[in-house]
Symmetry: C2
Subunit: 314 residues, 2 copies
């Protein structure tokens, strides 16, 4: 598949940070930045911009805050065309401070929101846009939203300056026909927006659904090194680069950073397909119960877990 | 997705046996049989029927031969509607002995072949059919076949008594558009046959491609417990059962046998997605080089492996 408009965003540090409270080392973040630069990836997401008032620094690493100065120290001296993004939770805080884009290393601000918080997201989008940033609005857990409410939100977002509106399958629920359906719904209500795609791998469909999005003209897609990300993780960057035939991409630096960093890391931190994530995915449920059980000695008691979830739904 | 005609075949013992030279214990094979029976799975494949002359018993476990008596001892006393199948390699042997179907516990014989050996497969199919078995012909590595040759083979197979002709993506190369293409090609040349789908998970697409086959009217699909199978493994049975809404299926016995047997087994035997399998999948290559490297201390030297494969293709 070659379409020049397709851009790839690596969310290794941001979505991966949800596993370790954003405590990645500077060495690792820089190694990822270097690899993505060499591989020709379009965007790298560094983490969240959270307010320290609501997210106390005693509990989180640097990538929960993504201070401009911190990012500058990481990227210093690396030749790169990679644009940098950070994510902001619309439903958590409105008070984040952003420098004007020409005083910041950041190019794009992605605003994560649920449909019910879309008005906060719109306010933040306008603020970030006015400071000169590219903006996206990422509608999380869209597989659980009431469609009337979703359409209302999409119609509002159509009027904002956000360049991209994202389908976010937070629960890893969708299969490809559902991706086609939701992308076409977005396109109908967002005629002048780029559509983004962010998938989770609960049912081993993150890569397949990302391709499905691309087939239906999504032009900003998320992926991560070796699929790292919360719970079952994301679409593996190495696979999407194997699929996209744009000669600007080079898979070798991706393979190298995976062998040097991700494989050792996978021995210390868990992400990727396991049965509890499959169960919450199949049932269109938040993965929090699966994440919780995987941290206990009961982590492989699947029948017990399944029955608990089913009972809870009754 | 509910369509009564869709039948599911579990290939845990057969494709999984390619990892351990078919040395599964009787206890495990029986536990799988019991679980599949309780779960309402349509077929269970027990292994290969190989001739001892070509495959000496010093090198292989019982599931390389699948003697009728052996199978009888495994299933004895279990109430079950599961039909049993075995696989035969058309390109390896023609001399296998089969009892008439009413003297055997086996219901279906699946004949695996490359296009170049299709005439041997047809001879075997006729032989098995005449003995009363259901028969399928499974065209392996179809992603590498010359299309003219493939069409010639399909046209020949259209005239055989085989009920089902399989698309076998042995290399884990296909993505969904390619599945649609090949299934439609089969359907055009096999107007009266059921089409089967057997996928490998090199690019984490085995489940997605199986769904894609189902969407295009494939009605016999392969899967395995926790995706066990050669190299990157197969479509996970637990996911396909989560997808198919036929009330005859029950996921709980599947979850139980996975927690009791597959999770401990996964600590001893390797299967599933790793980068070398992704590389051979992306490049449409036989996984043998990836299987070989995974058994060495160099198993995570991905850049080296990638360059070796690329150089070899030049």
């Amino acid at each position: 598949m070659y379409r020049e408009a397709i851009k790839v965003l690596d969310c290794t540090i941001r979505d991966g940070g949800l596993i370790n409270n954003h405590y990645f080392t500077d060495e690792f973040v820089r190694a990822v930045y270097v690899a993505l630069s060499e591989a020709g990836i379009d965007y790298m997401e560094m983490g969240y911009r959270s307010s320290r008032q609501y997210a106390p620094p005693a509990n989180y690493g640097d990538w929960k805050y993504c201070d401009d100065d911190k990012i500058r120290r990481i990227i210093d001296g690396v030749e790169s065309k990679v644009k940098l993004s950070i994510m902001v939770d619309a439903h958590r805080v409105l008070e984040q401070e952003f420098a004007p884009v020409d005083q910041s290393p950041i190019d794009m601000i992605r605003i994560a929101t649920y449909v019910k918080d879309v008005d906060k997201a719109i306010t933040l989008t306008q603020k970030c846009h006015d400071l000169g940033y590219e903006t996206t609005v990422n509608i999380m857990a869209v597989s659980t939203e009431n469609e009337f409410d979703l359409i209302t939100a999409l119609d509002q977002l159509a009027e904002t300056p956000a360049e991209t509106i994202y389908v976010v399958d937070s629960y890893g629920y969708y299969f490809c026909e559902q991706v086609e359906y939701i992308v076409k719904l977005y396109q109908k209500h967002l005629p002048n927006k780029r559509i983004g795609m962010h998938c989770h791998n609960n049912q081993q469909l993150a890569y397949a659904n990302t391709i499905e999005g691309i087939r239906h003209d999504c032009n900003l897609v998320d992926a991560s090194l070796y699929g790292i990300g919360r719970g079952a993780g994301n679409c593996p960057l190495e696979l999407i680069i194997g699929f996209l035939k744009n000669p600007k991409f080079d898979i070798e630096p991706i393979l190298k950073v995976i062998q040097d960093y991700m494989i050792p890391m996978a021995k210390e931190m868990e992400w990727g397909y396991t049965i509890p994530y499959a169960i919450t995915g199949i049932l269109n449920q938040h993965p929090r119960s699966a994440i919780a059980v995987r941290a206990t000695p009961e982590k492989d008691k699947y029948v017990e877990f399944y029955n608990k979830i089913i009972d809870h739904l009754d």
